[in-house]
Symmetry: D2
Subunit: 232 residues, 4 copies
């Protein structure tokens, strides 16, 4: 399968950033989790592991967005991050439960998830950046999740899936205005990139690339059923 490259090229700092992110993004599109979604051959257990880990992730991600919104340099950014945080929690909670039911898994699967090593590391990476660095570098930590997810969505909507539960999940991406919301946040990032110093931009780019690496690792950990080392 030929993976589709994101078409809507951006200018400015985020345009440069995407060039650095894109090679990893392409590796995500080629990952057997994503190709298995579109062919329908992905094992439902792997998808359920993803849903469980994603439930954990999205809840904590919403908290990081809320924390960021509390120190945003303008009220407009505070508002847009608050909305994004609320949207993340709301979207996740109903859709995930529906998919668990469609796949015949126990309804309490998502109630108390133990995060995998990668999910824990990614969540703590984002949380630590949001609470200890500058606002701009905190924003860089949450950016790849929303951006790569949006671009993966464009790819999945274009390809579809033969599996009804996977298609239901893909449908959630289409026509949701999510891409426009991400674009507006990227515009804000570009505006901020012009007022922060060069060191801060460099640090933010480094953080965004680490977060993008965690994006790939997150799909891979769900696919492989990653475990903690067996210790007492």
């Amino acid at each position: 399968m030929t993976v589709q490259v994101a078409q809507r090229r951006r200018q400015g700092w985020t345009g440069e950033l995407w060039e650095a992110i894109e090679p990893t993004h392409l590796r995500i599109l080629e990952h057997p989790f994503i190709t298995g979604l579109t062919t329908g051959e992905l094992a439902p257990d792997a998808f359920l592991r993803f849903l469980a880990q994603d439930t954990y992730y999205v809840n904590e991600y919403a908290r990081s967005l809320a924390a960021l919104s509390s120190t945003a340099p303008t009220m407009a950014l505070t508002r847009s991050l608050l909305e994004h945080a609320s949207g993340a929690v709301a979207a996740e909670s109903t859709l995930h439960a529906e998919l668990v039911a469609m796949l015949g898994a126990p309804s309490d699967l998502l109630a108390r998830v133990e995060p995998s090593p990668t999910a824990a590391a990614y969540v703590d990476f984002v949380t630590a950046r949001v609470h200890t660095g500058s606002f701009f570098s905190g924003l860089a930590a949450v950016l790849p999740c929303m951006w790569v997810y949006a671009e993966v969505g464009v790819h999945l909507v274009a390809h579809g899936s033969s599996h009804p539960a996977y298609q239901r999940w893909i449908d959630n991406y289409a026509g949701s205005g999510y891409l426009d919301e991400v674009d507006r946040i990227l515009d804000d990032v570009d505006a901020l990139a012009q007022v922060v110093g060069a060191q801060e931009r460099a640090r933010a780019a480094e953080i965004a690339l680490t977060a993008t690496r965690y994006e790939w690792m997150f799909w891979d950990a769900a696919y492989a059923g990653e475990q903690w080392p067996a210790l007492p």
Copy 2:
């Protein structure tokens, strides 16, 4: 005028807390700012000073609610604080602009407000508590604003105002579901009060009383046109 005492008595920790808050709450109801609102004799300039300081306060208050939501012990509390934060910003921004117009003040009055000493101190008090203490004591810092405001609203709706702009402001309280929202948060506070230690409850009560004192001082500062000391 006989001030009306809040009728809906609560049980539990917040019931005890209100007993400590109420004497100051009654002093707020007797303050010439509030009595002037209902008689219509309050000087429009004092009301405009209040609107300006309140715009500053509510924006920063929403940020504190967002920060609290990011460390709430349950996702239910994270969600309800996120909603409260979004609601605070939205309600404030449209209503305040309308009132400025009704009172014939310049439309940019609220664009860049210099906080009064009391507004600055109250905002920083809440911000500092939310970012440095336990979640429970942070919650105690934001509680009096929403609770006393709701009870002041009950009082004002019952008394009304002969001044159309003041009545418009009072109308905003009526039938808004705001009281129910505050009650749900108070229920959450009571549930948390049962699992935290006695020292933490004592510290939280102390914080809530300090915040209530700042509530009175906030009305008083707007009324009196409080200024910073004249320094170079």
Copy 3:
């Protein structure tokens, strides 16, 4: 009395910042608290009020320095802020107790201080800036305390006091290496000022000036015996 202007002029951003700070600094040197210290005519009660409020202030100030050290961009800055925090707490705790004894006040005077409105507002201002803004603007919030204090020290050491307890307090300034320590931190500030954006420098300058205003207000509040409004 002719107040002495700080002689050691700095270059760079902190040089410009001092030009903005200096007029308020001169007002501090002219304040009856400071002139009364050197003439010996300051009422011991005013000095004891200052010691009590300063005990509260310095403890919380050390916490803000510790918080700043935890997010410093380099380990060198982390180390120097950690040392400054430790030094602040240590210096304060022994000297203050000795002065209380010299002035014949009860030994538990400093054990549980209720902060004055100004001490509370200043502490919360610093705490809120350190926990919600950039590292650079947090540094700007703690800077005036150490800098103005050091310059007030130069002035007081030069003038001395006829009152033995006040002279004991002034002696603490002399030959302590404190000025060099502050100079090293100011060098770090100037280095950072070159890598942050212009908006961040402007915001930091605004914060430093507000903190300087609080410095004057802090002396004035101790002098005047500032009280909270009498509420239930």
Copy 4:
């Protein structure tokens, strides 16, 4: 080799906590990194990898201790955490450089370390707990590092090493007063454990066990030369 079990049993909450930690602690003592240290058979490259990762870890750990000190419930705890933070940074920086030289590695080995996945995850775990949870649960996150490290030290001092560089590292443990310092902090933890609620103790125990698991993983990652996945 028979591993030695910690002899100085504690009472109170930390006594219970150690029972939960100890099985993992024993697995650390049996790990080929630790047994290789005492037999001298540990590959110098593995030891150098450990030193590099430990340099990264200790610097960030000191920052977490500083952050904790800034929100400690008493000034005594603020002071002891500040000292522990200063001590951690100072001890690490000189000793590590000396060991690098003894092992003939390049002197800039520790200048700019890329953290391994496990070192990054552990550091971010501690940082995130310290900045988002209660003070007590933040303390639980930093505790295993100092406690397990102290107990590993007791074990290593008792067994020694035939390798001079490893013995030099082990010597650093002996007679340093480090154990007493840890004991004093554990006393503070026990005092706090009596005033926080049962839920908070349970959460703190969970966090301490996760941190202990990361302790084992940290030694194991240095031993195995853990790498990030090879992505663009």
